[in-house]
């Protein structure tokens, strides 16, 4: 059915078509053969996730709605909801600032609020859809083992998507009005990242301070927490009750979230065009003066490349926030390190994998910026230096940042436990090199401003980077206790890296 042009339904069809084609292109890279492979990979992932879900929640399927269950479900839902808010804030900010088709829409005689209303609904839908691949296997297992009442959990996911979008749009618009278009882009990204990380980090720090462990599960299951929670009849537990199959709670949660989304659309959609036009004026009017350096410095091509990478990163607060936001997750280990200094309880073992994992992830992001996010690829390729030389300089730039970020933590660890510091250093170097190599094998040509989209440009590279970091983190954790036992996880991590290399696209004979 084709809706009448200019109607909300027509715009919805247009958005859906674009989203569908984007998704297909992302999965297949424009090749039918790859689409088939992607379908097989997704199927394997779904089966694997169901297996994981069976191991994790299978035994809780027939749980009674007591306070412990309500706290655990609410905690998990809250964590997911905060991540949804974070993602929705990013999507909303992108809608303000990304020009794409906004000029066309705003220049056309249709009522722009219809488009923006559709786009806000699309954000809400995409939030729910993004949560489903991870949530659905758990819900399916709970339904299979605990009965149809768990279907309510799907309703809860939809309600969470709607409420998260309403809140995110409201927050973004509030920021826009309070601090202005120029600063909102950066601040909203930071706020989004902090919201996404705050709950996990908060729970971890609370667990460290209370129990000396980094596990957030132990905090959610603690007697102290349960003792301070409201009674099981409280409205606070409605979302958890909805997931457990309480029909009234589900209707209540859905009604509140949908009403908040509808209210947000009614208030924001008519003003969205104005915000977008204001945001469009930001870049054009910005003139940033840089303090004059007195003279040109003597430099080699390799040093020129390294300095350029560092300068570009340093001068882009948005990119700095995106890359270093991963460092937020280093806060709990830093607290653990500080606490272990006082107690001498040997918790260093826990720090090793966290630091190695963070180094791998940070290196992956930086490597993408340096290798794929080169804004002037032709200039660099036309320079009179061998291509291998350029790659080496860029890898050095990445490793330089990793060294700068992790050296203070490793140095502190070295004072307390030189052995753990040594293992961590080796782990960080290997994880960073592996993540950088993966980005090198999957290099594309993109703009630095597309950094947020790097994860969707190659799912394989993203997963490989994550699994490689996890593998090296596990290897380092085991190696800290026993070098012999570390051989097995090291081989697995090597296998991940080697497999990724085998699956990477063969380099085309481009530059001479």
């Amino acid at each position: 059915m084709i809706a009448a042009p200019g109607t909300s339904l027509w715009f919805a069809q247009h958005e859906w078509r674009l989203a569908w084609r984007d998704w297909l292109a992302m999965m297949s890279g424009g090749r039918r053969k790859r689409l088939r492979r992607a379908v097989i990979a997704v199927s394997i992932f779904v089966i694997f996730m169901h297996f994981v879900a069976y191991l994790v929640v299978g035994r809780y399927a027939n749980t009674a709605p007591d306070k412990a269950a309500l706290v655990a479900i609410t905690g998990s839902a809250l964590l997911s909801w905060l991540l949804m808010i974070s993602q929705a804030m990013e999507s909303t900010t992108r809608a303000f600032y990304a020009r794409s088709d906004l000029d066309l829409i705003l220049a056309s005689p249709v009522a722009a609020e219809k488009v923006f209303a559709v786009r806000i609904v699309t954000v809400a839908l995409s939030m729910a859809m993004m949560a489903l691949p991870l949530a659905a296997p758990f819900i399916d297992i709970l339904i299979a083992r605990g009965g149809w009442r768990w279907l309510g959990a799907y309703g809860l996911v939809a309600a969470m998507g709607a409420a998260a979008t309403a809140l995110a749009v409201g927050l973004s618009v509030a920021l826009f009005r309070v601090i202005g278009a120029r600063r909102t882009r950066f601040v909203a990204q930071v706020v989004a990242a902090v919201i996404g990380a705050a709950f996990v980090i908060g729970l971890q720090i609370a667990a460290i301070l209370s129990y000396g462990t980094i596990s957030r599960i132990s905090m959610l299951q603690s007697q102290i927490l349960l003792a301070h929670m409201p009674d099981t009849g409280s409205i606070v537990w409605w979302p958890a009750r909805a997931a457990l199959g309480d029909g009234m709670a589900l209707i209540g949660v859905l009604a509140v979230s949908m009403a908040s989304l509808a209210a947000t659309i009614a208030i924001v959609a008519p003003r969205f065009g104005g915000y977008a036009i204001t945001a469009a004026g930001v870049d054009a009017s910005s003139v940033v003066q840089v303090r004059a350096s007195t003279t040109f410095r003597a430099t080699s091509p390799r040093r020129a490349l390294r300095t350029k990478e560092w300068t570009l990163l340093r001068r882009d607060p948005w990119l700095v926030s995106q890359t270093l936001m991963q460092m937020l997750y280093l806060l709990p280990p830093a607290v653990l390190l500080w606490r272990s200094f006082n107690d001498g309880n040997g918790a260093y073992q826990l720090l090793v994998p966290v630091l190695v994992m963070a180094a791998g992830q940070l290196a992956g992001g930086l490597a993408w910026l340096a290798i794929s996010g080169e804004d002037s690829p032709d200039l660099v390729a036309s320079a009179p230096v061998p291509s291998g030389f350029i790659v080496r300089a860029k890898i050095e730039a990445v490793l330089g940042v990793i060294a700068m970020v992790f050296a203070p933590l490793v140095a502190a660890l070295a004072v307390a436990s030189p052995w753990h510091a040594l293992v961590t250093t080796v782990g960080i170097v290997i994880a960073a090199i592996a993540a950088t190599s993966i980005q090198l094998w999957f290099r594309t040509q993109a703009k630095r401003s597309q950094f947020r989209r790097r994860q969707v440009s190659s799912r394989l590279a993203t997963f490989a980077e994550a699994f490689s970091s996890i593998g090296w983190a596990a290897t380092a954790a085991v190696a800290a206790a026993s070098l012999t036992l570390a051989i097995a996880p090291a081989l697995l991590a090597l296998l991940v890296v080697a497999g990724t290399w085998l699956m990477s696209p063969r380099p085309q004979p481009h530059a001479v």
Binding site: D283, A292, T295, F296, A304, T311, P384, H510
Partner: protein
């Protein structure tokens, strides 16, 4: 000891590049040192592919490229040292200032600061970028960005400057500045090879013009020589007088049409 400059700044023999179809198909081209050479052709004729292969940004399937006597495929680093490449999309960094950009390019080409700095000042002055030398490029217009890219291309005083549609999207003032700098460069002995769709620019600036279609050089010479080759009187039935005064546009269209008929 007496040095003999090679007669050609650029020699291309039998250049071939296939994508899904042949993009460049056995191209032969010679450009003399100090010459301003304009490469014309319809969309998809193979102009950009040719220039990218010369600049070392694309590997040819067959053929040879020599830049000032240096085999660009056997020793690309030595050839790149003699060249500069500018595309229609200015290759600059938003977060660097023009001065920092020039310092970076000078570093890439291994230029000594004592040599690079005065040259940078001079170029920024010529291109009227001096007042903006300490501003980040992110707020610059397309014309200013293209001028920054041009300054970067000239800082190492290349013997061969390769430009792909350098005037696209520039206003009249910026276009004139770019043209003046290129003309000066050619007068000073540098070789310029440029593609353009603005035939008037080619007509006024180029010493020789090459017309490329379907990956082959179909005609080459001065405007007068091209007029003769185009045989406009035969193809369009125009009078001999009209043929004498035929613009490059008429000549170009006639040559391309003739090539299409032949194919």
């Amino acid at each position: 000891m007496q040095h003999f400059a090679p007669p050609f700044a650029l020699e291309i023999v039998g250049l071939v590049k296939h994508f899904d179809r042949p993009a460049v198909d056995g191209l032969n081209l010679n450009v003399r040192a100090g010459e301003f050479y304009a490469l014309l052709g319809p969309n998809g004729a193979g102009k950009t592919t040719t220039l990218r292969m010369i600049a070392g940004l694309l590997r040819p399937d067959a053929g040879t490229i020599r830049v000032a006597g240096v085999d660009a495929l056997a020793d690309p680093v030595a050839a790149k040292r003699l060249m500069a490449w500018i595309s229609d999309e200015p290759m600059i960094y938003d977060k660097l200032t023009p001065r920092e950009y020039l310092e970076f390019v000078a570093g890439l080409w291994g230029l000594a600061p004592a040599l690079a700095e005065p040259r940078a000042q001079e170029l920024l002055g010529w291109l009227e970028l001096a007042p903006h030398a300490q501003e980040r490029c992110e707020g610059f217009s397309k014309g200013m960005r293209q001028k920054v890219a041009l300054a970067g291309a000239l800082i190492h005083e290349p013997r061969l400057i390769i430009l792909d549609e350098p005037l696209t999207g520039l206003d009249a003032g910026s276009a004139r500045q770019v043209k003046n700098v290129l003309r000066q460069r050619a007068r000073a002995g540098g070789t310029v090879i440029m593609t353009t769709h603005i035939l008037d620019v080619a007509e006024r600036m180029a010493d020789r013009i090459g017309v490329i279609a379907r990956g082959k050089l179909i005609a080459e010479g001065t405007l007068e020589e091209l007029r003769l080759k185009a045989r406009i009187r035969e193809t369009s039935g125009a009078s001999a007088g009209a043929n004498d005064r035929a613009s490059l546009e008429d000549t170009f269209l006639a040559l391309v049409a003739e090539a299409a008929e032949t194919a």
